[in-house]
Symmetry: C2
Subunit: 207 residues, 2 copies
């Protein structure tokens, strides 16, 4: 019998291992070629399974992709959720930038999967963007606004401030090839970026 994909019922060792291997391989392939450019054969090969075997664990290519995206979103938004309204404004924002850059460094495939999805129209996650993401951003934007009104950080359009953090941190994962090609060897892009972005946001937010 085919295992239920979403159910949390007890999974066998083998199921856990294979489902994980498939998702990992799919992350490789989807993040490199986008949904349409990815093929089940390639995912199966990377996962070390046969294609029918792969389709024993997931009902379709779409299902694998969807599972990856939903699994990803939580990790991805976690740093923003952690931004604490009661903390010190500058420290909180810099910590957010730092955590976001860490995500880019440690989960570049996830970043590229997400970028690919948005780039290609986001049809599979548009609803989530307009609801979950938008609500979260609006909530945090209000926190930023309050800090600005209290004169604790510089007054700026809060949404665009958040966009700038996303853009600057994700750039190092999504455009990794370009960054390394331009910098040449002998550089640690992420270490340099960490210092640079700290300077940037310190200056931007200073009163």
């Amino acid at each position: 019998m085919q295992p239920e994909p979403t159910a949390n019922r007890p999974q066998t060792r083998i199921q856990r291992r294979n489902r994980q291997a498939i998702l990992d391989a799919a992350l490789d392939v989807f993040s490199q070629h986008g949904f349409r450019g990815a093929t089940l054969d390639q995912i199966a090969e990377v996962a070390g399974l046969s294609k029918p075997n792969l389709l024993y664990y997931f009902p379709s290519k779409e299902a694998i992709h969807e599972q990856l995206l939903t699994g990803l979103l939580d990790i991805w938004l976690d740093p923003l959720r952690k931004l604490d309204p009661k903390g010190d404004p500058l420290r909180e924002i810099l910590a957010y930038v730092h955590r976001k850059l860490e995500l880019s460094r440690d989960y570049p495939r996830e970043s590229r999967l997400f970028a690919n999805e948005i780039l290609q129209g986001a049809s599979r996650i548009e609803r989530v963007l307009a609801t979950v993401l938008r609500d979260l951003v609006d909530r945090k934007a209000r926190v930023l606004m309050r800090w600005m009104e209290e004169g604790r950080i510089a007054a700026l359009p809060p949404h665009h401030l958040i966009f700038s953090i996303w853009a600057l941190t994700q750039h190092y994962a999504d455009f990794d090839v370009q960054v390394r090609a331009v910098l040449g060897p002998g550089h640690d892009p992420y270490a340099e970026a960490d210092a640079f972005l700290e300077t940037l946001f310190r200056r931007l937010l200073a009163i």
Copy 2:
């Protein structure tokens, strides 16, 4: 007889029109799905031509893609080339940011095509990145360095300064869907971005 793709020999009206229609349609499709995700059938349909007709003007899918990329690179690097070593530092950099944002606004498909290409490993343009692009960036980085040493703008790692301009401006084209989903209706992302980025770079570069 098949028309030579690259030659500048006199083209008939029809050739010019159809080649342009194909490149335009291909830009649509490639920028939305990446190279592997795009299909000739789809390009042909968008261009309003039959597939064999399309292959009468271009020898292959690759050839269309390559033509787009090479045509794109010049437009894309032009604003950076225009950065004038003899101009006023702050004014020059802000003008660069402004022009780059204009490109994102006016040529979002080109931006996404480029992003797709980098994201998917840039195998087709890696050499150009490591030579043409790198040389240009190094040259301009030296100009920035000189300005910094002369105390005319704040001292920062020049390459990362350039990356930040790319990241912040291209974000509004590449992640357009997300930006609009988060902002909701009643916003003009590019106008707001223009003002925000001017503030950002003014503060970042101030002595």
